[in-house]
């Protein structure tokens, strides 16, 4: 065994070296046992965490009869993909998913633009009341939507927006958190760059678009991802400003699945999977931005 390590071609040697345990004959079996125990612990914990998702996916591929009958089916031997087609068309999930995508995309775009503009003003421009206005932005973080939604329902009604995309999107086009996050990032843009840009005759808008935004792409990406996730997962607000099925988002679509009859339970499970699959894909693709965004407040650099 120990000879192999030496004989390994450089390509393999590029892998980080394994911890020394288990390599010497004296170390014997105990480190090997310890590694096994660690893996067992990891696998057991992973199984517990994943169990609800796993069983939901399995049930989404079973016939209703097989979900109800005992013994429990732990694996879909004859996957019923038709359940997904059912949820997609008869369960109106195509509509719900499109609505969620429209709302989340609209909110993400709007928040990104408004936050970039506001952050630029706070980071690069001098004007009376700048500090006060910045505090005003931060104050919005302390007034959660759960405190204000019912008056906002009245406002939306009087604007004639009740049960429309405008009602779902417009109230969220600004973000105090995003503006704060981007201001922090914009302040790290070196002064030299600003002066150089000024010498080149760049005005504020050109400096913002050509230099500040490209440099701050990681922060803007994290903010955008955050905005998208928040918008996709919204529940209280879409519940109180929409009433027609045509405008339901996925989260509210799930609410209607609770009362379905026995022959519909497969569709319920399939709908649940459809509701979280897009987010799961997005998170796998953007996992780095997610971690950065989520831990921005938790760990101080």
């Amino acid at each position: 065994m120990s000879v192999d390590v030496e004989a390994m071609p450089p390509a393999h040697a590029a892998e980080p070296p394994e911890p020394p345990e288990g390599s010497g004959p004296v170390a014997g079996r105990r480190p090997w046992a310890r590694v096994t125990v660690r893996y067992v612990v990891l696998i057991v914990l992973a199984a517990i965490v994943l169990f609800p998702i796993y069983i939901t996916v399995v049930n989404s591929l079973l016939k209703p009869v097989d979900i109800i009958s005992r013994p429990i089916k732990w694996f879909p031997t004859a996957p019923q993909w038709g359940n997904y087609a059912d949820a997609w068309s008869n369960g109106h999930f195509s509509r719900y998913l499109i609505n969620s995508a429209i709302v989340a995309a609209g909110i993400t775009l709007g928040q990104t633009v408004s936050a970039v503009l506001a952050a630029y003003a706070f980071a690069f421009l001098e004007f009376p009341l700048r500090r006060t206005l910045f505090v005003v932005f931060l104050t919005t973080l302390m007034i959660p939507g759960e405190v204000t939604f019912f008056t906002n329902v009245n406002t939306v009604r009087s604007l004639g927006w009740y049960d429309s995309y405008a009602a779902l999107i417009v109230p969220f086009l600004a973000t105090g958190f995003g503006a704060f996050l981007l201001r922090q990032s914009f302040m790290t843009v070196p002064n030299d760059l600003r002066e150089a840009a000024a010498l080149d005759g760049y005005g504020h808008m050109r400096f913002l678009a050509r230099i500040v935004v490209p440099i701050s792409r990681p922060a803007i990406g994290a903010m955008g991802l955050f905005a998208f996730l928040g918008a996709w997962n919204q529940y209280l607000w879409p519940l109180v400003v929409t009433k027609s099925d045509r405008l339901r988002t996925v989260q509210i679509g799930l609410r209607a699945l609770r009362g379905t009859q026995i022959d519909q339970i497969s569709v319920t499970y399939a709908g649940t999977v459809l509701a979280f699959l897009p987010i799961a894909i997005i998170l796998v693709v953007f996992s780095k931005q997610l971690v950065r965004g989520l831990t921005a407040g938790a760990v101080k650099g």
Partner: protein, 305 residues
């Protein structure tokens, strides 16, 4: 060159340019301020104003407009047994979810904080529940414990888990803990990464057992992360709504009637926004206090280090 005054030689800024900068600044802030004004500050001001007036319907709809009642309604809301129950339920919910959520997230983070083959797979699995919204998590649980069609057809005292006064809140809490486990794991992992490896290594070399390393080095150094998770967790448990709405609608016997659900029920189902506004201000004050506590603690923790 004619030198007249210092400020002329080194002009601080041309007034015209200053004016232009100011105008651009306000223009850039305008979209955000318009949205905040209409959808954050106006309704907040309304929350403070509304409880001073009584809903017209509540005195027989004889009057068209709301009647001014001074502080009476504030008092009647905050001293009512319903409000006390709501606060108690929310506190119980916080106690059930926050410490357990942090402990489990920390457990996963510690277990995944080692260099082993395939560890990234486990890290991905441990953070996977961030992909599930509260509604998704709730519906999964709802389906799995359904007493007729579920995987686990549990009944306690003849009723389902979600109808049992004893188990309903615990069930709602369990769903919440699972749903937020991914986030808790990510936050705790990030905290662990700030602890220098050589510090832990040195302790190990000195003969400290893994348990001792955890309690005497890892945990104390993790305090800022723990505080953060505690406060953020508490705030979000006071805002918990979707899981209550989907799983129990506040029942049975109001045993799961959390503060935010109560505001929703009063304002939307019962249509009494004037009372709901008082509860909403209660929620605001709690969130505010928690935020201030967080800022204070953060500063003190930094001093200690």
């Amino acid at each position: 060159m004619a030198r007249k005054g210092k400020h002329k030689r080194v002009p601080k800024r041309l007034p015209r340019r200053r004016l232009r900068d100011a105008l651009i600044g306000y223009a850039l802030l305008l979209p955000s301020i318009a949205v905040f004004g209409v959808f954050v500050f106006y309704p907040f001001a309304k929350d403070i104003q509304l409880p001073f007036y009584e809903q017209p319907e509540s005195f027989g709809a004889i009057h068209r407009t709301a009647r001014y009642v001074g502080w009476t309604q504030w008092r009647s809301v905050f001293t009512s047994s319903e409000f006390r129950n709501t606060l108690l339920v929310t506190l119980r919910f916080t106690v059930l979810t926050v410490p357990a959520g942090i402990a489990l997230g920390l457990l996963l983070a510690v277990v995944a904080h080692q260099k082993m083959r395939g560890i990234t797979v486990f890290r991905t699995v441990f953070s996977s529940t961030v992909a599930t919204s509260v509604a998704v998590a709730s519906l999964i649980f709802f389906s799995l414990v359904n007493p007729v069609t579920g995987l686990w057809r549990v009944r306690v005292g003849g009723v389902s888990l979600l109808e049992s006064p004893r188990w309903a809140l615990i069930s709602v809490a369990a769903v919440t803990i699972w749903q937020s486990l991914g986030l808790s794991f990510i936050v705790m992992s990030a905290g662990l990464q700030t602890i220098p490896d050589d510090l832990l290594e040195a302790a190990r070399v000195d003969g400290a057992t893994p348990r001792r390393v955890f309690w005497q080095i890892t945990l104390p150094l993790l305090t800022p992360t723990l505080f953060f998770a505690f406060v953020v967790g508490s705030i979000s448990s006071f805002q918990a709504f979707a899981q209550v709405d989907l799983l129990t609608s506040g029942g049975p016997l109001n045993k799961t009637r959390t503060l935010t659900y109560d505001i929703f029920d009063a304002a939307i189902n019962k249509g009494d926004q004037n009372r709901a506004a008082a509860s909403a201000i209660g929620l605001f004050v709690i969130v505010l206090v928690l935020t201030i506590v967080q800022l204070r603690l953060e500063r003190r923790v930094r001093y200690v280090r």
